[in-house]
Each structure stands twice: as C-alpha cells, then as structure tokens.
Symmetry: C2
Subunit: 399 residues, 2 copies
C-alpha cells in the first residue's frame, strides 16, 4: 500500500509529531528554523509549539544577546522537566542502565558488573531493582515513559521474546513479558537486538546521521550487524536481519560451537582474536583491550593477531558490501580497536572481495557514541511511540 | 528527515497519485473501492477521478448487469487509449521488447535473438530500430512516455551508466545517454539492473505482491539478487546492492574468471550446472533446459548435477536469510528449474545454514511472471514518474 490519504485532523497530529521529532533529534531549534524546515507558516508553527508546551514535551526560551534588530526568534527545545525513559544494555558480563530525556540527554548512568551471564529472570529483577537509585541519581521523579532494553540476540519486537541469544544461553525467553510483569504498572517495555539498536543510535545522533545506507558491525564474543536501508532499519520478517555471525565464510575453517565449521565468528569474534594473541578466553573485554594495548606498543604477536582478524573482517565486509552496498560501515565493540590499529589490512581485504567498479569506496568509521551506541538506541525505541504521536490517546485541543 | 509537512495543494497532487497508483497496480476498481481504500469522501474521489479522466490516464465505465437496487458504482480503470511505455530486457543472447500500458497491460512483445553479446551502441540501435514495428503491432501511435531497460549489470540509476556487466563485457558504459541520444526527443530513458527490476515486478504484480521483505535471486550465466526491504527496493549507495555472484563462499573452491576463487557463480551459475552435467557451455539457456528435461526423466548424471547445484544454492540462501531475513525468496532464471526438481535439496541446505530459531521458514517460490519479470520491471520504472505525479509540470485545474 502507498501512503495514506491526507486529511486535516491527521495533518495536525502529523505536524506535531514532525516538530517533536526535529527537536528530539537535533535539540533546541528556533521557531524560524522550524518554519523553514517544515514549510509551514510562522503562525502555524507557533500554534503547534504551544500545543507541545502544554503537553510538557518542549520548552521555549528567548536567546540572550544578539545584535540584530527586531524580535529574536524563540528557541524551542526538549523540556528539561519532561518525560524520560530507562534504557538498558544487557551484555554477558555487564548490565548498563541510563535515565535519558527527550533530545537523548543522558541524565544518569549506572553499570553493574556480573559474575556470570544472567538468566532472563535475573536480568529483569536486576533492572527493576536498579531503577529507583537511577531515577534518584538523575534528580527525576515519577515513572519512566517506558523501558527500552538491548540484548545480544534475536528479538521479536512485537512480543519482546528473545529467540536466541547464544552467549547469554537464552532461547525463546519471554523477556519482555517477564520484565513488564516486574516493572511499574502501565510502563511499556521495548526489547531490541544490540546491533540493531546501535545502528539506530548512530543513525539518529551519531556518526551515521547524514547517511541512509549504513551497516553497524559489532564484534564481541559474538558478531552481529545492524542495518539501515533507505534511511529505515532493516529488521526482516522475524526481526532477525543481520545475524551474520554464523554465516559460513570458509567450509574448511575451524569448528564452531554452533555445530558448523568456518563461521564468521570463528575468524573475527573476540575469542578468535584472543586465541591468535595467546591470551586467556575469559573476561573478553579486558583481555581484548590488552591485545590492542600490546599491538600499539609494537608487540609482534599481538599486532599479527589484530592484522589477521582485520583481513578476515575485510573479507566479511566485502560480502556485506556486495549484498547491501552501504555508504558507511560503523565498526563497534572490539572491531573499533581492530580498525584503529589495522585499517589498511581491513581495506586491502575489502578491496579484494568487493565486486563494485574501481574507485567506489565505502567509508569505515568507529562509532561516535563509543560503547553507548546500543544503550542510546534502547532509549530511541523507548521514546518512539511518544515521538510518533505526541498526543497519545488525547483529543486535539480546540483552536 | 521525516516526511514533509502536509499542505492543501500538495494533498490534491498526492491524492491524484494515490488513485493512479491503485489503478495501475490493481486494474479497474469501483469508486466505492477507491473511497474505502483511501479514506476520502465519495465526492472527493469523484472530483479526483474526473481530473484523471481529463488527463487521459483513466477511463470510467458502468458495470453491466447487477441485481442490487440503487445506482451502481462506476468502474475506474487504466485508459486503453492512454500512455504506454517501451520496456526492454537486454540479455547476453537476446533482446526482448514490449509496449506496455498503464495497469501493466502488455500490448505487444518482440524477442530478437543475437549471435553475440551486443555492444552498448549495438543494443541502443537495435532498440530504437525496433520500436516503430513494436508500436505498430500494438496498434498504438505517438511516442512512448519513456523507455525502460533491464541490463545484467550494475547501474547508476541517476545517469543510466552501466558500471560493470561482466557477461556483456560492458564497463562504465554510458548506455542511458547513448540510447537517449538515438531515441525520439524528450523521451526519458530509465536503466535498471535485471534482478532489481525482476523483484520490483514480482512485488508490484507477481508472487511477491503481499510481501514486504523479498529477495529475487536470478540464475543465468551470472548470478544476482534483487532485494525489497520494508516494501521498498534496496538499491544501496551506488545502486549495486545484490551483486552477490562474486561473493566467495569457499576460499578453496574453483577458480573464477573474476580472479578470485570459490565465487558463488562457480557453484550455482549456468556454467557450473552444465559442467556438472557434462554439457557444452555455449547457448546456456537451451542447454540448461536440456539438463532439466533429462533430470525429470530420471537421467542420473543430470539429476545429480541439479541436486549438487541445489545444495550450493541452499547454502547461499542461508547466508542471505541470515543477513536479510526475508519472508519470501523468488528463484528465477535457471534457479526456477532447480527449484522445481530439487526443492528438498535446497531446503535441507538452507536449514543447515540458517541461524534463526527452529520452525521459522522462508518461502521459496518460482516467479509468477515467468521469464518476463525483468521486462515488466522495466515498464514499472518507465511509468514511475507519471504515477508519482500524474499532473507532471501542469498546474492544478480550478475546482
């Protein structure tokens, strides 16, 4: 089906959502900027902003200073006393929580290191127990608009069920329901895949902002891709797009724990890097950091390990480029470290495996949100419903 | 950027385009159906249809018969005397042309067998020389709205330049410009990749109609994929998405003419099938058909060749499913024959290489437009501008 037909009442809701989306994404904008961006009259913008102020979603201020004659254009920014969400990044050895306001403002952040991978029930209990402290640290009150959670596995975004998260050992875990049952009543819970949320965040407010075709490839113990196509997330039919860690890249390669041989993960996952560098496979994040530190100081074995992973990574990127032809590939997790040290090895392998005409290049970049890409992405899905319909179920006020 | 803000004059143009798109895609619809589908009033639909009739794009008729009381709802269908496009499928050994009207109505079709792959200049001359006969055979007159051409290679859709079509031996060929210079003045020329156009056609009016995440994998001498994501074509940054024929699936595999080893094409392309079956590599289309015919009558060598290709094809589909998680994969060209004979071998390999949770299945299907998928897709891109803006540069008539 094409876009729906336009009607006047739908126009007002639509335009309210457009303004809130602009302010959420870009921060404070002048009324004049909003007028220019949306192609609406100054008086229409004024009325819509008044609606959003009354809803407690935006605040207006008059910029100080200024030397031009005439009335200065009011600044419209996210309300500092407005709604917030709780964003969570569940990983194998750490759970990170944050309270985040409109505009992506991180108001408080808390990281909890774990001894072992949590069960879904343990993760849900830990999140719910941690929220009061987090909210207090942020100087906030009331309940969050919703809770958004990143997990390293496949997710059914409609039900919040985690289909398979191999390194958490979760399978068909009704995590969204478990968490919603423990959380405050009427607080929606949204669950997303880590790579999907990471690319969403980098696309909304990170290094991929101006790009419409992007891959975020995340390297941890497992490997996954988050993909943006035509400016929109590629989720696929069951929400499992980008699960490329167990793509077989060499049928003669090493045995994989999944039962196949030569999966991508066996060439570029954290354990492959640690094994090549002769490091223990426990505490992967700290150990991979030691490999990168050693490589930077010229340690031959560490450097060779990073370069070997870089070459395999470049080959994998070649296959992704042939399939998706992205403009930008963001390399996150341990791949950011590999990129910083061995970009030339990645690019040489990529050139060899890409079909495209010579001279066409994809840009490789580190994430600009650092380790927080997936966390910020969890906040984005938690805010999405409010941004799409700032009025919610409320009727339009009379004008 | 989000969708643009809505304004009244833009609404009328938008709604005209919506109606034309419905009629182009689905054929004749009653005014009542249009009213229900678009959520507009009956009088608004009536006025918009009158505009489209005046533009010569649709025709109204009163259905005969009917036993219900009351005035019957007028049928709104594509105008039979309305605009047409010329669609062309350029392949290595054949050029196929068709005159196609709104609604995808094929009015005349002509296939020209070639002795050798044409140069861009030869292909353009052949097309332009063939158009008058084609138009006459269709009982049409005047110039086409535009010319849409399918080629088996990478295409820059903005310039119409073919970056690389290995089996035509075209590289950086300004084919769109060459053809536009030869064609009648002011007739736009649109060029597309064969797999991209094939998936567009199957999505618009074929087996993929009700699906939003689709891959069309075409097997000829080369191999390519056309991809639909979120209901929209995935083209990528340079329009080269889906160029997976030279993805290395086994670094220890056979040498490929591209200089690498173990490309997908060396396992599943027409030459791989013919080689396994002990057939000559010339006249690939006819020879692959002979392999399928022999396999269907129980010839062991032919059957084994088809099953071997089927297993490699299933593995390749596994990688695509992990990356894109489509709902439907359409197998065209020689892959349609492989599917008809060895579906179980494809599916067994696919199951083995897919990461998804058990029980989730992608549907494998033959194209419902047969060999004409790419040709019909070429007509779709040729009509796209008219469908998007039925008024073109014309002003809105007063109401």
């Amino acid at each position: 089906m094409a876009a729906p037909a336009a009607r006047p009442d739908a126009m007002r809701r639509h335009n309210l959502a457009l303004i809130l989306a602009q302010v959420h994404r870009d921060g404070a904008l002048t009324r004049a900027e909003l007028t220019a961006r949306l192609g609406l009259s100054r008086s229409t913008i004024g009325a819509l902003v008044t609606d959003l102020v009354e809803l407690g979603l935006v605040e207006e201020s008059v910029p100080s200073g200024g030397t031009r004659a005439g009335r200065p254009s009011h600044l419209v920014g996210p309300s500092l006393s407005g709604p917030y969400v709780v964003a969570v990044d569940v990983d194998v050895t750490q759970v990170t929580l944050a309270a985040i306001g409109l505009g992506g403002e991180l108001r408080a952040r808390q990281a909890i290191v774990l001894d072992a991978a949590p069960t879904p029930e343990q993760a849900a209990a830990l999140i719910v127990e941690s929220i009061p402290t987090l909210v207090q640290a942020a100087g906030l009150s009331g309940t969050p608009v919703s809770i958004g959670v990143s997990v390293p596995g496949t997710v059914d975004r409609h039900t919040g069920t985690v289909g398979f998260a191999p390194n958490l050992a979760w399978r068909d875990a009704k995590f969204g329901t478990i968490l919603a049952d423990l959380a405050a009543p009427h607080v929606p819970v949204l669950i997303g895949n880590d790579a999907d949320l990471a690319v969403l965040a980098e696309h909304s407010r990170g290094t991929a902002r101006e790009h419409s075709d992007v891959v975020f490839l995340i390297g941890r113990i497992g490997v996954g891709a988050g993909i943006i196509v035509n400016g929109v997330p590629l989720r696929g039919n069951h929400g499992h797009a980008g699960e490329i860690g167990h793509n077989v890249v060499d049928p003669g390669g090493p045995d994989c724990h999944c039962g196949k041989r030569g999966c991508l993960e066996t060439f570029v996952g954290d354990h492959a890097l640690l094994d090549l560098a002769g490091r223990p496979l426990t505490g992967a994040d700290q150990e991979t950091e030691k490999v990168f530190a050693a490589a930077r100081t010229g340690d031959e074995r560490a450097l060779e390990a990073v370069r070997t992973v870089a070459a395999s990574l470049g080959q994998a990127l070649g296959l992704l480029v042939n399939t998706l032809n992205p403009e930008l590939i963001v390399l996150g997790g341990s791949f950011a470290g590999v990129l910083a040290i061995a970009r030339e090895n990645i690019e040489a392998a990529l050139d060899r495996y890409v079909f495209n005409s010579p001279g066409e290049q994809v840009v490789l970049s580190e994430p600009s949100l650092g380790e927080d890409s997936a966390l910020i992405g969890a906040a984005e899905i938690a805010f999405a419903q409010l941004i799409a319909d700032p009025l919610g179920g409320r009727a339009l006020a009379a004008r």
